[in-house]
Point group: C4
Chain length 305, copies 4
Amino acid sequence: MVKRLKDIGFGLSSTKNVKRFITEDGRFNIDHVNKKSMFQSTYSYLIRITWIAFFGYVLLAYILVNTLFAVAYVGLGMEAISTYHSPSFFENFFNAFLFSSQTITTVGYGVLSPSGTAAGILASFEALVGLLSFSFTTGLLYGRFSKPKTLISFSRNFLIRPFENKSALMIKVMNTSRNILIKPKVDVTLILHKSENGYYKPEYFNLNLERKTIIYLPTTWTIVHVIDEESPLYNLSKSEIADLKAELVVLFSYYDDAFNNEIYDVKSYVHEDLKMNKKYTKSYGYGEDGKLMVDHSMIDDLEKL
Amino acid sequence: MVKRLKDIGFGLSSTKNVKRFITEDGRFNIDHVNKKSMFQSTYSYLIRITWIAFFGYVLLAYILVNTLFAVAYVGLGMEAISTYHSPSFFENFFNAFLFSSQTITTVGYGVLSPSGTAAGILASFEALVGLLSFSFTTGLLYGRFSKPKTLISFSRNFLIRPFENKSALMIKVMNTSRNILIKPKVDVTLILHKSENGYYKPEYFNLNLERKTIIYLPTTWTIVHVIDEESPLYNLSKSEIADLKAELVVLFSYYDDAFNNEIYDVKSYVHEDLKMNKKYTKSYGYGEDGKLMVDHSMIDDLEKL
Amino acid sequence: MVKRLKDIGFGLSSTKNVKRFITEDGRFNIDHVNKKSMFQSTYSYLIRITWIAFFGYVLLAYILVNTLFAVAYVGLGMEAISTYHSPSFFENFFNAFLFSSQTITTVGYGVLSPSGTAAGILASFEALVGLLSFSFTTGLLYGRFSKPKTLISFSRNFLIRPFENKSALMIKVMNTSRNILIKPKVDVTLILHKSENGYYKPEYFNLNLERKTIIYLPTTWTIVHVIDEESPLYNLSKSEIADLKAELVVLFSYYDDAFNNEIYDVKSYVHEDLKMNKKYTKSYGYGEDGKLMVDHSMIDDLEKL
Amino acid sequence: MVKRLKDIGFGLSSTKNVKRFITEDGRFNIDHVNKKSMFQSTYSYLIRITWIAFFGYVLLAYILVNTLFAVAYVGLGMEAISTYHSPSFFENFFNAFLFSSQTITTVGYGVLSPSGTAAGILASFEALVGLLSFSFTTGLLYGRFSKPKTLISFSRNFLIRPFENKSALMIKVMNTSRNILIKPKVDVTLILHKSENGYYKPEYFNLNLERKTIIYLPTTWTIVHVIDEESPLYNLSKSEIADLKAELVVLFSYYDDAFNNEIYDVKSYVHEDLKMNKKYTKSYGYGEDGKLMVDHSMIDDLEKL
């Protein structure tokens, strides 16, 4: 029998507006309030964002920090960094900004250079700040590189379709690389929201799967849950499933041969992602030379039965 | 039956002054004497301290090393680094300090530059020291970043309260992030100190838990040990527990989906942390938009039954 | 009985030209088409290539980027970076290239230095680019270092030879280091292609092994599959095995004591690698001083029975 | 019964001069001949050596590389890097050496600076070499830091002594840090060399242990193998054990809470390390304030029974 995961660790509260439990980017769909701001969150954030956003922040920080130091150098008087003192504030500020950038990057051409106690100390401190910042950036860059990347992708939709005289729920995953993925394992949890006194109450079901693990994943694998009498989906229509605000949480793991790491991936489907009575289009095949090919553009393709 | 962990690996000696076994920061409460100072301990220390302390040490080391080199340059005579020789010792030292900082950070403006054999070699060596130090700091920074951070927090108190016609010991943990924590597991050891000939002798008990693992930990989880006839806490009052100098050692582990790492965390409670006949205030709920919210400020809140 | 791995996760399509399933460098022999180019693939690529190729790319990138910046500086007019303006375009370009390289590496001698708004900003930006690039390179270098290296090698051929009144398939592995390899484990999958309507259809067999694991691997280990009635290779001749386009996939894992890592390695043999009725030459022995020696040049040696 | 590990994976050859199987620094005592020199071995070597040796190599490499570049600059003529040309070869070489060091560390004061095509290109290349070398060093330094360090130490001797009406072999390990070591596990293999036709033939025995694992290791743990009728050591005297060239291989593992890593450690004892009828001196106790203390200087201490 299917275990009802009363105590799966999910909150049991209910609400009229049911939100998805896990977001599309694989995080809990939860607001944290009164959280003490943590340095670690900033690090996690800078690891997670796109490369464009990352370099945007780096450039922004570079301009900002140089501006701050430039203001300080201008405050000390231009004679502190240059033999040339322009009457134009902007020109002075600009030279101070250049001096600051030459100091923080440790280029130090020397045409602009500090003279006097205050400028000397400030420049000495700025060079330290520069080196630490770039150590920091190196750490962040390597953190971004070494973050284990999932090498699989899930088809956009999950299916319910006739299967061997019964019906079955199906989910398709694809190995998106040539890396040898060893012993992939899968675990699927279904969340249904029953209505009670005008509130929805989530219930959690661990779905029986035809097969929970395989040895290698070279191309694609279609995960199959047979909808028999014991399935919580037994005899449910698409609209009934929509009314129950069904959500599927897929926990997928495998050993990545190239990086020697056990990788976990979590994917969530909501009822809008369900297609009835379709099948996945086969997205691999053999080329003319007999070599196996995988077509990434076909991972989401469906076709009539 | 509860196993008596006679041989859990804990020392069996006893003393009149019972100290906690594990400190609040999750290390053994043990003094190591005659320990050979190890480089590795220094590294561990620099990884463990706060960011403020870390940058404090960096700044201190920067000033110290520059001072040492400055003394050496002054010793070589100011003509070794500058065309300008001040009669003031302080001004010379200050210039030497600036030259040292410009060398060690590899800024090298060139206004100050080495001339002569000794200063040339020393500056050449100092630049190497500088680069190695910043390589070192980069390593330390990344070591600090990549140290697996625990993403859970424990409630300040543990409880003993009525529970289903019996009483139970309870401990509450919270996921402090939106990361998906997979398959959290818990293991609780109770230490009681029995008095014998005026000495306390520790005894170790592995507590039976209602549930040792769940699938996901999205918000909070209350760990429950039912105090039945087999529990070492059966029929003990708060003052009896205090007399036995009770300590709870909680070993918690989970798989962190974002960093693909199995994380362990150890938490220790002493008898002063026990509250009787209270319950944990629910610290998550639904906002007006139906989205789940976790309130970090409520993790320690207790309320009347 | 030997399990027929119908559902091992391998594609079941067939073709007239059978290609090997796993390439010699341990990746799936699959073409990925319509794959979105991913930054991560570039990183994986730069981690995987040889050191010579790696440094070749670095040098190429260095020349390319400096050329681009040099063109920009020449475009701004030579007075922007130098007091000396040559009538020769090439000489100007060359000086701009040197200035660029002095800026991007943050050497900054100062003989060439930016003057004017545009050159100042560009040089300031180039120094940032330089530092980021070298942070990047540091990350890549450490990624290359820390990529777990497999410390075993496989003999070039696999054997089928008489063994204890039967015959057996044998594969030899060698520990190529002095690192203590703990608990090596092995798993061998055989792929045979049966002909059907002019097409080959792959079948997968998990081979029974005499021993699947040992405690330590100090020198060499010969993996043995006894070919009895249950073996898919029972009574097959070399030419029949060739007709079936046999491929062996060996999944090998062990714990590396020096790097504290579980390492996986996948090796594929095709039928051309099969030698009949030979045995592996023993590739270790004792020197005159009684010390065990392993001879790397003998790993592939075979001899008559 | 004790399993005879005929097939433990150890070589079965024999010799008159028996050498220890595993060296004191925890590597196989094996000579590798005809091994292709591998970059990876160099990396492993630089990770393994002491800090003093490491910095010695860095300094040596620094001097060597600068010497090579200095020779090249001198070859180009001193006017290529300096306005000052000394008649003394040594002085010129020294200036070229300083210029090289100022370039490779990217200090670039500018007093010495390249002029002309060849020197410009060479300096431009040297600065790249410098940055790559320091990226390299950063990678090595972090590799050294992050190499999992074992936090336990073994007592210098192993014991055979009376124990509960029988005798027992004992090995003592100590947690040398305050880190919480979770679930230490141990596995002991005994190697005996039986004499046959004037040759010694090693035999491998997996020893039964009183206890193979404990929950935490706060101070010390004495591993006990009871020498009963089934033990290969039954009724053997110290001189018989010496004649059999006994060697003990201890495989120890635990989970390190501070670094979230499973750590393995291998220790080998030879028969010279055996002490009969002694006991380990207790090396921890309570201070006056009741706090547990571990005395590192006592780990090797033995006393009379």
